[in-house]
Protein backbone atom coordinates (compact mmCIF):
# COMPACT_ATOMS: atom_id res chain seq x y z
CA UNK A 1 0.00 0.00 0.00
CA UNK A 2 1.36 3.40 -0.93
CA UNK A 3 1.47 6.15 1.68
CA UNK A 4 1.56 9.85 0.90
CA UNK A 5 1.52 12.74 3.33
CA UNK A 6 0.65 16.10 1.84
CA UNK A 7 1.50 19.11 4.00
CA UNK A 8 -0.85 21.95 3.22
CA UNK A 9 -1.64 24.43 6.01
CA UNK A 10 -4.53 25.89 3.99
CA UNK A 11 -6.60 22.69 3.74
CA UNK A 12 -8.68 21.00 6.39
CA UNK A 13 -6.85 18.01 7.88
CA UNK A 14 -8.26 14.76 6.54
CA UNK A 15 -7.19 11.13 6.14
CA UNK A 16 -8.48 9.19 3.13
CA UNK A 17 -7.76 5.50 2.68
CA UNK A 18 -8.22 3.75 -0.68
CA UNK A 19 -8.49 -0.02 -0.35
CA UNK A 20 -9.98 -2.83 -2.45
CA UNK A 21 -11.87 -4.00 0.60
CA UNK A 22 -11.92 -2.99 4.26
CA UNK A 23 -9.02 -4.70 5.98
CA UNK A 24 -7.33 -4.79 9.38
CA UNK A 25 -4.79 -2.10 8.53
CA UNK A 26 -7.47 0.31 7.29
CA UNK A 27 -9.55 -0.29 10.41
CA UNK A 28 -6.55 0.32 12.66
CA UNK A 29 -5.75 3.57 10.86
CA UNK A 30 -9.41 4.59 11.11
CA UNK A 31 -9.46 3.84 14.85
CA UNK A 32 -6.25 5.79 15.34
CA UNK A 33 -7.59 8.81 13.47
CA UNK A 34 -10.87 8.71 15.42
CA UNK A 35 -9.03 8.46 18.75
CA UNK A 36 -6.79 11.32 17.77
CA UNK A 37 -9.57 13.64 16.72
CA UNK A 38 -11.80 12.85 19.68
CA UNK A 39 -12.64 15.87 21.76
CA UNK A 40 -13.45 16.12 25.44
CA UNK A 41 -15.31 18.81 27.28
CA UNK A 42 -13.23 19.90 30.25
CA UNK A 43 -14.51 22.17 33.00
CA UNK A 44 -12.58 24.63 35.10
CA UNK A 45 -14.53 26.84 37.47
CA UNK A 46 -17.40 28.05 35.24
CA UNK A 47 -15.66 27.59 31.94
CA UNK A 48 -16.06 24.68 29.55
CA UNK A 49 -13.14 23.99 27.25
CA UNK A 50 -12.74 21.65 24.27
CA UNK A 51 -9.73 19.35 24.72
CA UNK A 52 -8.19 17.21 22.00
CA UNK A 53 -6.98 13.79 23.08
CA UNK A 54 -3.45 14.39 21.83
CA UNK A 55 -2.99 17.47 24.02
CA UNK A 56 -3.95 15.64 27.20
CA UNK A 57 -0.90 14.61 29.23
CA UNK A 58 -2.81 12.27 31.51
CA UNK A 59 -6.20 11.62 33.05
CA UNK A 60 -6.24 11.29 36.81
CA UNK A 61 -8.83 10.63 39.50
CA UNK A 62 -8.59 13.08 42.38
CA UNK A 63 -11.23 14.01 44.95
CA UNK A 64 -13.61 11.59 43.27
CA UNK A 65 -13.44 13.41 39.93
CA UNK A 66 -11.66 12.61 36.68
CA UNK A 67 -9.27 15.34 35.64
CA UNK A 68 -7.62 15.83 32.27
CA UNK A 69 -4.18 17.38 32.66
CA UNK A 70 -2.89 19.44 29.74
CA UNK A 71 0.00 21.89 29.47
CA UNK A 72 -2.57 24.63 30.03
CA UNK A 73 -3.87 23.30 33.33
CA UNK A 74 -6.27 20.69 34.58
CA UNK A 75 -9.91 20.30 33.71
CA UNK A 76 -12.46 17.95 35.15
CA UNK A 77 -14.41 15.83 32.76
CA UNK A 78 -17.71 14.07 33.20
CA UNK A 79 -16.64 10.63 31.98
CA UNK A 80 -15.47 7.91 34.37
CA UNK A 81 -11.88 6.73 34.08
CA UNK A 82 -12.85 3.29 32.73
CA UNK A 83 -14.93 4.99 30.02
CA UNK A 84 -12.01 7.22 29.11
CA UNK A 85 -9.73 4.17 29.01
CA UNK A 86 -12.01 2.42 26.54
CA UNK A 87 -12.16 5.50 24.30
CA UNK A 88 -8.55 6.64 24.11
CA UNK A 89 -7.08 3.42 22.74
CA UNK A 90 -3.42 2.49 22.77
CA UNK A 91 -2.12 6.03 22.89
CA UNK A 92 -2.72 5.95 26.66
CA UNK A 93 -1.68 3.44 29.29
CA UNK A 94 -2.84 3.06 32.86
CA UNK A 95 0.18 3.64 35.09
CA UNK A 96 -1.63 3.21 38.38
CA UNK A 97 -5.17 2.67 39.54
CA UNK A 98 -6.10 6.34 39.15
CA UNK A 99 -3.97 7.55 36.26
CA UNK A 100 -4.16 7.04 32.52
CA UNK A 101 -1.05 8.46 30.86
CA UNK A 102 -0.37 9.61 27.31
CA UNK A 103 2.66 7.62 26.11
CA UNK A 104 3.65 10.40 23.67
CA UNK A 105 3.83 12.86 26.57
CA UNK A 106 6.20 10.73 28.64
CA UNK A 107 9.63 12.27 28.88
CA UNK A 108 11.60 9.87 31.05
CA UNK A 109 11.45 7.29 33.80
CA UNK A 110 13.26 7.53 37.13
CA UNK A 111 13.66 5.19 40.04
CA UNK A 112 12.94 6.42 43.51
CA UNK A 113 15.18 5.12 46.26
CA UNK A 114 12.12 3.31 47.57
CA UNK A 115 12.18 1.14 44.47
CA UNK A 116 9.21 2.82 42.81
CA UNK A 117 9.26 3.73 39.15
CA UNK A 118 8.34 7.34 38.46
CA UNK A 119 7.41 8.83 35.12
CA UNK A 120 8.14 12.47 34.29
CA UNK A 121 5.93 14.01 31.62
CA UNK A 122 6.82 16.70 29.08
CA UNK A 123 5.11 19.33 31.28
CA UNK A 124 7.26 18.36 34.27
CA UNK A 125 4.54 16.53 36.24
CA UNK A 126 5.51 13.23 37.85
CA UNK A 127 3.45 10.18 38.66
CA UNK A 128 4.42 6.78 39.97
CA UNK A 129 3.97 3.52 38.09
CA UNK A 130 2.38 0.85 40.25
CA UNK A 131 3.87 -2.63 40.33
CA UNK A 132 0.55 -3.99 39.14
CA UNK A 133 0.62 -1.85 35.99
CA UNK A 134 4.34 -2.20 35.29
CA UNK A 135 3.91 -5.21 32.99
CA UNK A 136 1.31 -3.38 30.85
CA UNK A 137 3.45 -0.23 30.72
CA UNK A 138 6.46 -2.26 29.55
CA UNK A 139 4.40 -3.98 26.86
CA UNK A 140 2.88 -0.73 25.56
CA UNK A 141 6.25 0.96 25.38
CA UNK A 142 7.68 -2.00 23.58
CA UNK A 143 9.62 -4.05 26.10
CA UNK A 144 8.60 -7.64 25.68
CA UNK A 145 10.47 -9.23 28.59
Amino acid sequence: MKCTIITDPNREEEVQIFVHQKNDLAQRIEALVLEDSREWIGFWEREAVRLRTEEIVYFIVEDGKVWARTTEGRFWIKERLYTVESLVGERFVKIHQSCLANIQQMKRFDTSIAGTLLVTFQNGDREYVSRRQLKTVKERIGITK
Binding site: F109, D110, T116, I143
Partner: protein, 138 residues
Protein backbone atom coordinates in the same frame (compact mmCIF):
# COMPACT_ATOMS: atom_id res chain seq x y z
CA UNK B 1 -8.36 12.49 57.03
CA UNK B 2 -4.93 12.68 55.46
CA UNK B 3 -4.72 10.70 52.19
CA UNK B 4 -1.65 8.80 53.34
CA UNK B 5 -3.22 7.85 56.67
CA UNK B 6 -6.28 6.63 54.80
CA UNK B 7 -4.07 4.64 52.43
CA UNK B 8 -2.12 3.22 55.40
CA UNK B 9 -5.32 2.00 57.04
CA UNK B 10 -6.71 0.75 53.73
CA UNK B 11 -3.63 -1.33 52.95
CA UNK B 12 -3.40 -2.51 56.54
CA UNK B 13 -6.98 -3.75 56.54
CA UNK B 14 -6.56 -5.40 53.14
CA UNK B 15 -3.52 -7.44 54.11
CA UNK B 16 -3.76 -7.69 57.91
CA UNK B 17 -5.64 -10.99 57.68
CA UNK B 18 -2.67 -12.71 56.06
CA UNK B 19 -0.74 -12.63 59.35
CA UNK B 20 -2.98 -15.08 61.24
CA UNK B 21 -3.27 -17.26 58.11
CA UNK B 22 0.53 -17.59 57.89
CA UNK B 23 0.92 -18.26 61.63
CA UNK B 24 -1.83 -20.88 61.34
CA UNK B 25 0.07 -22.62 58.53
CA UNK B 26 3.32 -22.51 60.54
CA UNK B 27 1.59 -23.98 63.61
CA UNK B 28 0.01 -26.67 61.46
CA UNK B 29 3.41 -27.66 60.03
CA UNK B 30 4.91 -27.68 63.53
CA UNK B 31 2.10 -29.93 64.77
CA UNK B 32 2.90 -32.38 61.98
CA UNK B 33 6.65 -32.37 62.52
CA UNK B 34 6.98 -32.13 66.33
CA UNK B 35 5.85 -35.00 68.49
CA UNK B 36 4.95 -32.82 71.44
CA UNK B 37 3.44 -29.60 70.20
CA UNK B 38 0.58 -27.94 71.96
CA UNK B 39 -0.58 -24.39 72.58
CA UNK B 40 -2.85 -22.86 75.17
CA UNK B 41 -5.85 -20.78 74.15
CA UNK B 42 -4.07 -17.65 75.33
CA UNK B 43 -1.02 -18.40 73.17
CA UNK B 44 -3.16 -18.92 70.10
CA UNK B 45 -5.08 -15.70 70.73
CA UNK B 46 -1.86 -13.76 71.27
CA UNK B 47 -0.38 -15.18 68.05
CA UNK B 48 -3.48 -14.29 66.04
CA UNK B 49 -3.74 -10.72 67.36
CA UNK B 50 -0.01 -9.98 67.16
CA UNK B 51 0.45 -11.37 63.64
CA UNK B 52 -2.64 -9.48 62.49
CA UNK B 53 -1.08 -6.27 63.79
CA UNK B 54 2.27 -7.22 62.26
CA UNK B 55 0.76 -7.76 58.81
CA UNK B 56 -1.38 -4.64 59.21
CA UNK B 57 1.64 -2.45 60.01
CA UNK B 58 3.85 -4.05 57.36
CA UNK B 59 1.27 -3.47 54.62
CA UNK B 60 0.46 0.04 55.81
CA UNK B 61 4.12 1.03 56.09
CA UNK B 62 4.58 0.62 52.33
CA UNK B 63 2.82 4.00 52.08
CA UNK B 64 5.85 5.71 53.62
CA UNK B 65 7.72 5.36 50.33
CA UNK B 66 4.98 7.25 48.52
CA UNK B 67 4.86 10.32 50.73
CA UNK B 68 6.33 12.77 48.25
CA UNK B 69 7.17 15.55 50.69
CA UNK B 70 9.28 13.16 52.81
CA UNK B 71 12.95 12.80 52.07
CA UNK B 72 14.23 9.41 50.99
CA UNK B 73 16.10 8.97 54.27
CA UNK B 74 12.99 9.80 56.28
CA UNK B 75 10.72 7.37 54.43
CA UNK B 76 13.37 4.65 54.59
CA UNK B 77 13.88 5.24 58.31
CA UNK B 78 10.17 5.10 59.13
CA UNK B 79 9.63 2.04 56.98
CA UNK B 80 12.56 0.18 58.51
CA UNK B 81 11.67 1.26 62.07
CA UNK B 82 8.02 0.23 61.71
CA UNK B 83 8.94 -3.17 60.35
CA UNK B 84 11.73 -3.75 62.85
CA UNK B 85 9.65 -2.77 65.87
CA UNK B 86 6.60 -4.74 64.79
CA UNK B 87 8.61 -7.88 63.98
CA UNK B 88 10.76 -7.77 67.12
CA UNK B 89 7.79 -7.08 69.42
CA UNK B 90 5.72 -9.79 67.76
CA UNK B 91 8.55 -12.34 68.11
CA UNK B 92 9.26 -11.40 71.73
CA UNK B 93 5.63 -11.38 72.98
CA UNK B 94 5.01 -14.75 71.35
CA UNK B 95 8.29 -16.02 72.84
CA UNK B 96 9.53 -17.07 69.41
CA UNK B 97 12.81 -15.44 70.47
CA UNK B 98 13.86 -14.98 74.12
CA UNK B 99 13.99 -11.51 75.59
CA UNK B 100 17.77 -11.40 75.99
CA UNK B 101 20.01 -8.65 74.62
CA UNK B 102 22.42 -11.09 72.86
CA UNK B 103 19.52 -12.66 70.99
CA UNK B 104 17.97 -9.29 70.18
CA UNK B 105 21.32 -8.10 68.87
CA UNK B 106 21.64 -11.11 66.55
CA UNK B 107 18.00 -10.68 65.50
CA UNK B 108 18.61 -6.98 64.75
CA UNK B 109 21.70 -7.79 62.66
CA UNK B 110 19.91 -10.48 60.66
CA UNK B 111 16.82 -8.29 60.20
CA UNK B 112 18.83 -5.28 59.00
CA UNK B 113 20.93 -7.42 56.64
CA UNK B 114 17.82 -9.08 55.19
CA UNK B 115 15.96 -5.78 54.87
CA UNK B 116 18.72 -3.98 53.03
CA UNK B 117 19.56 -6.96 50.83
CA UNK B 118 15.94 -7.22 49.61
CA UNK B 119 15.80 -3.45 49.28
CA UNK B 120 18.87 -3.30 47.02
CA UNK B 121 17.71 -6.22 44.87
CA UNK B 122 14.37 -4.46 44.30
CA UNK B 123 16.05 -1.13 43.51
CA UNK B 124 18.51 -2.76 41.08
CA UNK B 125 15.81 -4.64 39.21
CA UNK B 126 13.64 -1.50 38.92
CA UNK B 127 16.65 0.48 37.70
CA UNK B 128 17.21 -2.06 34.96
CA UNK B 129 13.56 -1.71 33.84
CA UNK B 130 13.87 2.08 34.03
CA UNK B 131 16.92 2.11 31.73
CA UNK B 132 15.17 -0.10 29.17
CA UNK B 133 12.05 2.07 29.23
CA UNK B 134 14.10 5.23 28.75
CA UNK B 135 15.95 3.69 25.80
CA UNK B 136 12.59 2.94 24.19
CA UNK B 137 11.25 6.43 24.84
CA UNK B 138 14.27 7.95 23.11
Amino acid sequence: MNTYVKEFLHRGMLFGGFGPVIVGIVYYILSLTLTEFYLTGGEVLLAIVSTYLLAFLQAGASVFHQVEHWSVAKSLFFHFATLYLSYSLCYVVNQWIPFAWEVLLIFTGCFAAGYFLIFFIVVLSIRSVQRRLNRKLQ
